[in-house]
Structure formats: C-alpha cells, structure tokens
C-alpha cells in the first residue's frame, strides 16, 4: 500500500492511498485504504495523515482521522501519530500498523507498532528544505 499526504505552500492539503490489499483475502473484501479516516484523511484547518498495515484493524480505529484531530488540538505530528498507535495497542497489542502525519505548517512525523519482525518504519519526505526526496525511519513503539 502507498499512503500519501501533500501540503501545498498555500496551506492546501490532500491525501490518498492505493493498494491491492491483503494477500489471499476473501473475494470482495475491502481494507482500510479506500475508507476516509482509516486509510487517509486531510483537512486544511488541521493537517493530513495516512495509514498502512492490517486494514481490518485500522478500519475499526480510524487512525488517520484521529491523528488529524490530535493535530487540530495542537499535538505535534509525531505525537499525534504515536497517540493513535497507542490507542490501538490497548485493544490489539500485536496489530501490524504504521501512520504518517503532517500539519499545515509542514511539520511531519510517523509512528508504528513494534513487533518482533517490525521494529522500524521507513517513509519518504520531500520538502523545500531538502533538494531531493529523503527516506526517513522511525523506531516503532
């Protein structure tokens, strides 16, 4: 799955996802990616976020919407991302998931749920302070 958020220099935001979903899914199954608030979410007055992982879990917690609301409340993007992961951990400690967050001034962050086989999450960043796209990694919590 790719989840992407874009913030324009004028403050406009957009988010999107594209995926071929879960391997060996039951025919007809849809994951979190096409569901606003689960796979991704954007609001010019707060920020944007996108998620990847176990879609059936993410569908039940709407991490992208919740992360945007945390940023609306003043949380830094990395804190907002960590808080949505922590919320899900309480119910499903072994879920596979990661979230990226960006606010309307261009700050960004990411978070992921630590598993024995998943301890770091890689994501891509491109902004006007960099002259190329950059891969960044975050340690899972």
């Amino acid at each position: 799955t790719i989840g992407m958020v874009v913030i324009h220099k004028m403050g406009r935001t957009a988010a999107g996802t594209s995926t071929n979903g879960l391997k060996f899914k039951i025919h007809g199954r849809i994951g979190d990616s096409p569901v606003p608030g689960a796979g991704a979410y954007a609001d010019d007055t707060a920020g944007a976020a996108a998620a990847t992982g176990d879609g059936d879990t993410l569908l039940r917690f709407l991490p992208s919407y919740q992360a945007v609301e945390y940023m609306r409340g003043g949380d830094e993007p990395s804190v907002a991302c960590q808080k949505v992961i922590s919320r899900i951990q309480k119910y499903s400690p072994k879920f596979f998931g990661a979230v990226i967050c960006a606010n309307v001034i261009g700050s960004y962050g990411a978070a992921c749920n630590k598993l024995p086989t998943f301890t770091q999450f890689s994501f891509m960043v491109y902004n006007s302070l960099k002259n190329q796209s950059t891969e960044e990694k975050v340690d899972c919590i």
Binding site: T1, I2, M4, V6, I7, H8, K9, R12, T13, A14, A15, G16, T17, S18, N20, G21, L22, K23, F24, K25, H27, G28, R29, I30, G31, S33, P34, V35, P36, G39, A40, A42, D43, D44, A48, A50, A51, T52, D54, G55, T57, R60, Y91, S92, K94, F95, F96, I100, A102, G106, Y108, L115, F123, M124, V125, Y126, N127, S128, L129, E135
Partner: protein, 181 residues
C-alpha cells in the same frame, strides 16, 4: 524558511514521492500531486502491494482499493474491490470529480471506470498466479475464515458455518508483516 510544500508517503517508494513533487513544481494541485504519486506506484507495482499483479485473493484475482481526499473541500473519491482496471487512484479521482458520492465498489466500480474511459484488462500476472497456486498447495494458509467447517486452519474451502461460535478477539490478532494493506 517555510518547510512547504511537503510530500510525505508511507514506505520507501521514492519514485512516487518524486512524481508528486514534480507535479507540484510544474504547477499541479495537491490532488494532482497525490494522484500522480499513487499512480506511479500502481504502474511500478510498489513492493507488490500496489497495483496489478499482486496480492491475489482466494480466487486468484487481484483487485484494487484507492482513495483521494481534498482537505480544502473535504471532497473524497474512492474505489474498493475495483476489478480489471489498473489505475485505481485515477478512477477514485473521477469519483471525486464527477459524482457526489464517496465510494464505489466491485463490478459496478469497474463499469463506472469504463464509462470514464478507463481500459478493462486482466490484473493477474504470472507472478500473482504463482503466488496463488503456492497458496492452494499450502492448504490455503493463511486465510481469514473463522467459525466455519471444515477447519480453516487446516483445510481449504468451501466452508459452511460451524455450530460453535467463538467470539472475536482482537487481542490475539496477528498479521503477516508482508501481507497487509
């Protein structure tokens, strides 16, 4: 100086990031940038988790989910279980622009896509067919059935509802880090 504009995407899909950035620099909107970034991954089949030829379902078919959201108008376009159309994010953009709906699914989403000019073509490849036949050879493991007979942890379907209903328990749910959304 300002950190904007910003492109951020999950996983190290560099070409997608750069496609979105180029779109912004050439005067495209944030929606154009998201669409071109996601479309790049659909074409490049990023990690086998985006686009055609990956993640076959139980019947061996590859189907696609995609969504695009405008944070200014809060408009959303999305497709779920899209069949035989490669450019899912492009179809999602058409849902956003040409309907007042939000999400179109399955065969009907395919018909909508064809009416918008998208090509109907097979999304399976030799690779996805091989992945599927290996899965069949491994007694259809993993699968996503429960409370059915025969025992889905040991057998393929078709399945029928079992008499005993075990409650769902998120606490013990684990996902293969290589097979996800």
């Amino acid at each position: 100086s300002s950190r904007l504009p910003l492109v951020l995407n999950t996983w190290p899909f560099k070409n997608a990031t750069e496609a979105a950035w180029r779109t912004l620099l050439s005067g495209g909107s944030v929606l154009d940038a998201v669409e071109s970034g996601c479309a790049m991954c659909e074409a490049e089949q990023c990690d086998g988790t985006v686009g055609f030829g990956g993640s076959p379902d139980e019947l061996g078919e590859t189907t696609l989910d995609a969504m695009i959201m405008d944070g200014t108008t809060m408009a959303v376009g999305a497709v779920g279980d899209l069949r035989r159309i490669k450019n899912a994010i492009g179809v999602a953009r058409k849902v956003l622009e040409h309907t007042t709906h939000t999400l179109l699914v399955g065969e009907s989403a395919t018909k909508f896509a064809e009416s918008m000019g998208f090509t109907n073509e097979d999304l399976s490849t030799r690779s996805s067919r091989a992945i599927h036949s290996d899965w069949l050879a491994r007694k259809c493991q993993p699968n996503y059935w429960r409370n059915v007979v025969p025992d889905p942890t040991k057998h393929c379907g078709p399945y029928k509802p079992s008499d005993v209903l075990e409650p769902s328990n998120l606490t013990y749910r684990e996902t293969d880090v290589h097979g996800h959304d």
